[in-house]
């Protein structure tokens, strides 16, 4: 069966050039980057090149980049690390500000902090998923040690105003972290104009492999370590470096930096075409988060009268991969906290589907989606008692 993948926000394929760059480091150049001998030095050189490549993608200095196991570890390290280093200072009952639309890696870390006696403010978002800067200003207290607001939302693609948030954080002398897992490589990021102190990256959203990520930590930031071990990465993140993964992330960052402008232009044209096509072909469909600035690759649509879960499965059986909400550990679909936060009623949140495009998405893929989705929606609506009732009422 011909399969079309429109779920790049979930994960991306490793780019062939990335794979080529990584391959020597599995067995040929297998050295431990901490070893003094030539084997080790070759591995070290590869790791440091990758650090430069990742730093260049976000306007950071190489020594401010720490490699991690992925976005979740980076988020946890940033949040627990900042709160942990402030706990003994004057801010002994620290306060953290975040939002209701963060990724679980941030939300659940904050909930864990609450159980430890840390205060957390969760900012509401408007109907397009953006926080209100006045709310943010109002939430800052004497005890506030960290503002953690994501760059781009994984479900909607909504891009938060990081530059303004950074200015507010700086004025209040509060550390500022962003989860940039969904924005890196899709839209420009520069830690300096955004006045970011910490930033999380994930390899596998960026055409690098799963299991590698990075945390940017601005020089001078007081950050407690999460893991204890050897002296790797200046003791901040011990553990023998995942050299092949790091090389892959570096190469992927370099490619992303070079192709970002081109990719973004091409993908936003395809995305717009997908959205307009759906709106035109599927009666009563709407775009979630349409009025906010968005990443160029993400389209989140409501198809009222449809169970998104059934639509997802029906489409998968026809060869189209997309996504709805977040999967729980059993693999069943859970109601999306993001769609709930933008004020969608439960039945519309359940009727929403995310299509996320990527570097390998073609015009033919979009044509395929525009062919199978409207037909599948019509089929589902035919069998939906509530939709049929509403349709009868409209007549």
């Amino acid at each position: 069966m011909n399969r079309v993948y429109l779920d790049y926000n979930a994960t991306t394929p490793v780019e062939p050039e990335v794979l080529d760059a990584m391959l020597p480091y599995f067995s040929g150049e297998f050295g431990n980057a901490s070893s003094i001998h030539t084997f080790g030095q070759k591995a070290r050189a590869a790791v440091e090149t990758a650090r430069e490549q990742v730093a260049a993608l976000i306007g950071a200095r190489p020594q401010e980049i720490f490699f991690t196991s992925g976005g979740t570890e980076s988020d946890n390290h940033a949040i627990f690390g900042i709160v942990g280093s402030s706990a003994n200072g004057p801010k002994s009952r620290p306060h953290v500000i975040t939002s209701f639309v963060e990724h679980e890696a941030v939300l659940n870390a904050c909930q864990a902090l609450e159980k430890q006696g840390v205060d957390v403010t969760y900012l509401h978002v408007d109907q397009d998923g953006l926080i209100d800067l006045e709310d943010l200003r109002g939430a800052i207290r004497q005890e506030t040690v960290l503002i953690t607001i994501m760059h781009a939302n994984n479900e909607l693609g909504t891009v938060q105003p990081l530059e303004e948030i950074g200015r507010i954080a700086k004025e209040a002398d509060v550390y500022f972290h962003t989860d940039a897992v969904q924005s890196a490589g899709k839209i420009p990021i520069d830690v300096n104009p955004f006045q970011l102190d910490l930033l999380s990256l994930s390899g596998h959203k960026l055409y690098a492999p799963k299991g590698i990520g990075a945390l940017y930590v601005r020089g001078g930031t007081r950050l407690k370590q999460l893991l204890y071990g050897g002296h790797h990465q200046r003791g901040m993140r011990p553990g023998t470096e995942n050299v092949a993964g790091i090389v892959g992330l570096g190469k992927a960052a370099e490619i992303a930096r070079q192709s970002l402008a081109h990719d973004s232009k091409r993908l936003s044209a395809l995305r717009d075409q997908l959205e307009h096509g759906m709106l035109h072909r599927v009666p009563h469909s709407r775009i979630n988060g349409a009025r906010a600035p968005r990443t160029p690759n993400t389209a989140n649509l409501v198809f009222p009268g449809v169970e998104g879960e059934a639509l997802l499965i029906a489409l998968d059986l026809k060869g189209l991969a997309c996504s709805t909400g977040a999967a729980c550990s059993s693999g069943a679909v859970e109601p999306s906290h993001v769609l709930t936060a933008i004020g969608l009623p439960a039945e519309e949140a359940r009727a929403s589907l995310r299509f996320s495009l990527g570097r390998h998405t073609t015009q033919a893929d979009i044509d395929f989606a525009l062919q199978v989705v409207p037909a599948a929606v019509a089929q589902l609506r035919q069998l939906s008692p509530t939709y049929q009732k509403e349709a009868a009422a409209r007549r």
Binding site: E307, E309, A310, L311, I313, A314, D316, L317, C328, S329, S330, G331, A332, V333, E334, Q379, L380, L383, S384
Partner: protein, 391 residues
């Protein structure tokens, strides 16, 4: 893989054999074998596993460690997925937690608190498996839904009705829990195990090397940990913000004399003996439950036997709603040996039943299921004519 003759011996149904069929997979041996059987018949199979209840809910009911070996536990989901991988067909987990709570769990608790003894499995079949799950199966392009129930379905060419029959394996028969199915639901359902015995099913599972071939059968109510439903009702009521109060009710004898106190009517079911002691050397049983006055009436075994009772919410399965009284064999709980009776319709969904001989513990909230009378010529109690709730 040659599965041998038993696969070949299965009856072929004439219509839409070649379309996609969805299999409701619990991760157990029965539904897994259904998937294997259908695949052997050349059918295109898609597996669906329902996520019905979050086992991490009501943490006070959990022992140490993760919930295991219960329905909806992750282990069962993984088992279903392992079977789908083994047989190489698509499989999805679908979330029906909301429907399960509103149509099964909440009514289950409410019925107990109203002094009745509910059957959650019947509601789950009628209102979840063969309703939203069947609808989802059709929405994703499947013509029919197959399950691991031990029962049989056939189309009666003369009456034009879909008929529900007992399983061939009497010891596994689950038709008692399926009387709520409508004609539409029956026409889109398949029970491939209806002709087989449990031993045959296990043998088939072993023959195709299903990873769950040796998995023990599940016996308990899937959402109640350790089978302790009283504890569950307490925990669920507290979560709803209506915690149950203790030690208020009276236990009375048939003359209305108070002979003890109880902790809530949900602790009791008709015919129960446990915890009631003796009177004049004879054991006492629950005769009736009066939720309005929070009272449990007890008495001796003889007083438990009744001949006549009424039912409502009837669903006519293998026959059209009758207008005249008819003879049937009636079963009043899962473990009851069906007994001959006269059924008098009192309206389309309401009836009076009179057993030929008094029966023990006719319990409100349980179902009365009417089978063909012995002399119908259909074989022993084969068709389910109808079912209804005991008032």
């Amino acid at each position: 893989m040659n599965a041998g003759t038993q696969f070949d011996a299965l009856p072929e149904r004439a219509e839409t054999q070649r379309g996609l069929v969805a299999v409701a997979m619990s991760g157990g041996v029965d539904s897994s074998t259904v998937a294997a059987l259908l695949q052997q018949q050349g059918r295109a199979v898609v597996g669906l596993t329902m996520q019905l209840w979050n086992q991490r809910r009501l943490p006070e009911l959990q022992g140490d460690g993760p919930a295991q070996h219960r329905c909806c536990s992750l282990d069962d989901v993984y088992d279903a997925k392992a079977v789908a991988r083994h047989l190489n067909f698509p499989h999805y987990v679908v979330n029906f937690e909301e429907q399960f709570e509103s149509r099964v769990v909440r009514p289950f608790v409410d019925q107990y608190l109203a002094g009745r003894t509910p059957i959650a499995c019947t509601n789950c079949n009628t209102d979840v498996k063969f309703e939203p799950l069947l609808r989802m199966a059709r929405q994703i392009g499947a013509e029919r839904l197959a399950t691991g129930h031990y029962a049989r379905i056939r189309e009666n060419g003369e009456t034009g009705r879909w008929e529900l029959l007992r399983a061939c394996d009497d010891s596994k028969d689950q038709s008692y829990f399926l009387w709520g199915l409508t004609q539409e639901q029956l026409s889109r359902s398949e029970f491939p195990l209806g002709e087989l015995t449990k031993d045959e099913v296990r043998a088939l599972a072993r023959r195709v090397n299903l990873p769950v071939a040796e998995k023990p059968d599940s016996m308990e109510l899937c959402f109640v940990p350790n089978g302790n439903y009283v504890q569950f009702i307490h925990a669920y009521s507290s979560e709803r913000g209506k915690p149950l109060k203790d030690g208020e009710g009276e236990i009375v004898n048939e003359d209305g004399e108070i002979i003890g106190r109880h902790n809530g009517v949900h602790n009791f079911t008709i015919g129960q003996r446990k915890g009631l002691g003796f009177a004049a050397g004879k054991p006492l049983y629950v005769l009736s439950i009066d939720p309005q006055n929070n009272r449990v009436v007890v008495g001796e075994d003889d007083a438990l036997r009744r001949q006549t009772f009424e039912v409502d919410g009837a669903n006519w399965v293998s026959i059209a709603p009758p207008t005249a009284a008819f003879r049937a064999t009636v079963k009043i709980r899962h473990k009851h040996e069906p007994a001959p009776a006269l059924v008098e319709p009192l309206g389309e969904t309401h009836a009076r039943i009179t057993f030929d001989a008094p029966q023990r513990a006719i319990t409100p909230g349980q179902a009365a299921v009417f089978y063909d009378a012995d002399d119908s010529g259909e074989g022993k109690n084969s068709r389910i004519l109808a079912g209804a709730w005991i008032r």
